[in-house]
């Protein structure tokens, strides 16, 4: 990869990470519905993995996750029973989201644009289900507290609105990533597919 391509990639990825993170935490009300917020950082990372492969997805996921932790970390009841700000949950979630995006039907669908929506929907669904499961486990089992969300509320007030918002957010981000970069249009897809095939990343959810 030439130096100019690398520089372009680094600059554009940096701009994307800071821009999407800033937009999401600065104007959440402008992109929210039924209490949920369109997760621009999450969608960006999944699409990066889906279009540009494992290395891009994982590294960009990790970096975006750290920025997410800086701006708005989760607060949980710590080991001493007090509420504490955590470090690393955002990095873990977005790292796995990037890896998931890179392993989602990549070769078989030739990283097609329509199936990018499916990749985002699947990743969102998994994130929300695991998120609720972990919250339930942490509050109810470890903390012996009361986890008050029922299955119906979980689906109607959390999972479905988040799915809808993330799918809507996929369109502009997808156009941006696919046509503006980090790579010039047409310069990456063929080469990347060769790489993907060489590394065996050619089947459904195979890492």
């Amino acid at each position: 990869m030439s130096m100019s391509i690398t520089i372009r990639k680094v600059i554009l990825y940096t701009v994307y990470i800071l821009l999407f993170a800033s937009l999401q935490v600065s104007f959440p009300d402008a992109i929210s519905f039924r209490g949920q917020i369109a997760d621009l950082m999450f969608v960006f990372v999944v699409l990066t993995g889906y279009f540009f492969g494992f290395a891009d997805g994982a590294i960009i996921g990790l970096l975006t996750g750290v920025v997410r932790d800086c701006f708005s970390s989760p607060a949980v009841v710590g080991l001493d029973g007090k509420v504490q700000v955590t470090v690393g949950i955002g990095a873990l979630v977005l790292f796995l989201a990037g890896a998931f995006g890179s392993a989602f039907f990549t070769k078989k669908l030739h990283r097609s644009i329509p199936f990018a929506f499916l990749a985002v929907a699947a990743a969102t669904l998994i994130y929300k289900v695991i998120g609720h499961a972990v919250s339930f486990f942490w509050i109810k089992v470890l903390g012996n507290g009361f986890y008050s969300i029922g299955i119906g509320e979980m689906i109607l007030d959390s999972i479905l609105p988040q799915l809808m918002l993330n799918i809507i957010a996929t369109l502009p981000l997808l156009l941006l990533l696919r046509f503006l970069g980090p790579y010039k249009l047409g310069s990456v897809t063929d080469k990347k597919d060769d790489v993907i095939e060489a590394y065996g990343e050619n089947s459904w959810f195979r890492i």
Binding site: A21, V66, G78, V83, Q84, L96
Partner: protein, 297 residues
């Protein structure tokens, strides 16, 4: 061996384990892992501030364009209001002088007079339903510091409860909002000897901006519209900070009556908040000075 180390499943598993270990370590009291965020925050925070400022400017510009006619009419109305208010101001200045005289005469205690109030703008809000801590632009460099296990109340411009400080760095602080499921505060009905209760955030009510009320005293008669304020029990929150009003009471289980509370403050509408810090050190210094004086004399 090299093949295993470069395999994707190994990279995913190893990185995940490392990050999980980091998360668990960050939950240990006094964990230094928070400092890892500092270099990233140093880059990301100014950019985010710029994006927010640019967004606000655009929003204001658009509002100026669309609201031009309305603003002109509003301007006329405001001019009339200013004339009225100037008259009222003169009247109120006299009333204020009388209030000060009466306050001194009757030794009225100002509930919050023992607190320093630090104003700060909200930098970033929640990223999703779990990443819900709010960051404000006030930190150690602004004179705010928090010892391990301590916390400070945060209120809005009308002194309504917003949340509490849970972490402070050099230039900013993290706020746990009132609706977060980890938040709870001892409260009472806003009347003399009002019945006590516990107001907490709730996972299922959070998205609607509501809180749950539990541990309601037997003598309490709650009904929609009942005003709830902090009771001062527990020591963190001073007595009398307005919290919200009751919107619904659930008496289906007479042994465990609960209620739903609508907080007065809506974080979505807030731009600035105020951190309340008690004069603990000043009192301690005064005490020690008094001790020295007494010993000296």
């Amino acid at each position: 061996m090299k093949k295993i180390l470069t395999a994707k499943w190994f990279i995913v598993a190893a990185t995940s384990l490392l990050l999980i270990a980091g998360v668990v370590l960050s939950l240990i009291p006094g964990s230094p892992l928070g400092f890892l965020k500092v270099p990233f925050a140093a880059i990301a925070t100014p950019v985010q501030a710029f994006v927010k400022s640019a967004g606000d400017t655009l929003s204001d510009f658009w509002a100026a364009l669309t609201d031009g006619m309305a603003i002109r009419q509003e301007n006329e109305d405001l001019k009339d209001q200013i004339a009225d208010l100037q008259y009222q101001l003169t009247q109120n200045e006299e009333a204020a002088i009388r209030y000060e005289e009466l306050k001194e005469a009757f030794h009225i205690r100002d509930t919050f007079s023992n607190y320093d109030i630090y104003g700060a703008s909200i930098i970033s809000r929640e990223a999703d339903e779990w990443f819900s801590v709010i960051t404000i632009a006030a930190g150690k460099t602004d004179g705010i510091s928090v010892e391990d296990g301590e916390s400070y109340p945060v209120v809005d411009v009308n002194m309504n409860l917003v949340g509490r400080v849970i972490e402070i760095s050099d230039s900013n602080s993290k706020i746990l909002p009132l609706v977060h499921e980890g938040f709870s505060v001892a409260c009472k009905v806003n009347e003399v000897n009002g019945a006590s209760m516990l107001v907490s955030g709730d996972a299922s009510l959070k998205n609607s901006g509501l809180c749950i009320v539990t541990n309601i005293a037997d003598k309490a008669v709650l009904e929609p519209g009942t005003e709830i304020v902090t009771s001062g029990d527990g020591g963190l929150f001073p007595e009398g900070i307005p919290v919200g009003t009751i919107v619904e009471v659930d008496s289906s289980n007479p042994l465990q009556v609960t209620a739903t509370l609508q907080p007065y403050t809506d974080i979505k509408d807030l731009e600035d908040v105020f951190v309340m810090i008690p004069y603990v050190e000043e009192v301690a210094e005064t005490d020690s000075t008094a001790g020295v004086t007494e010993e000296g004399s």
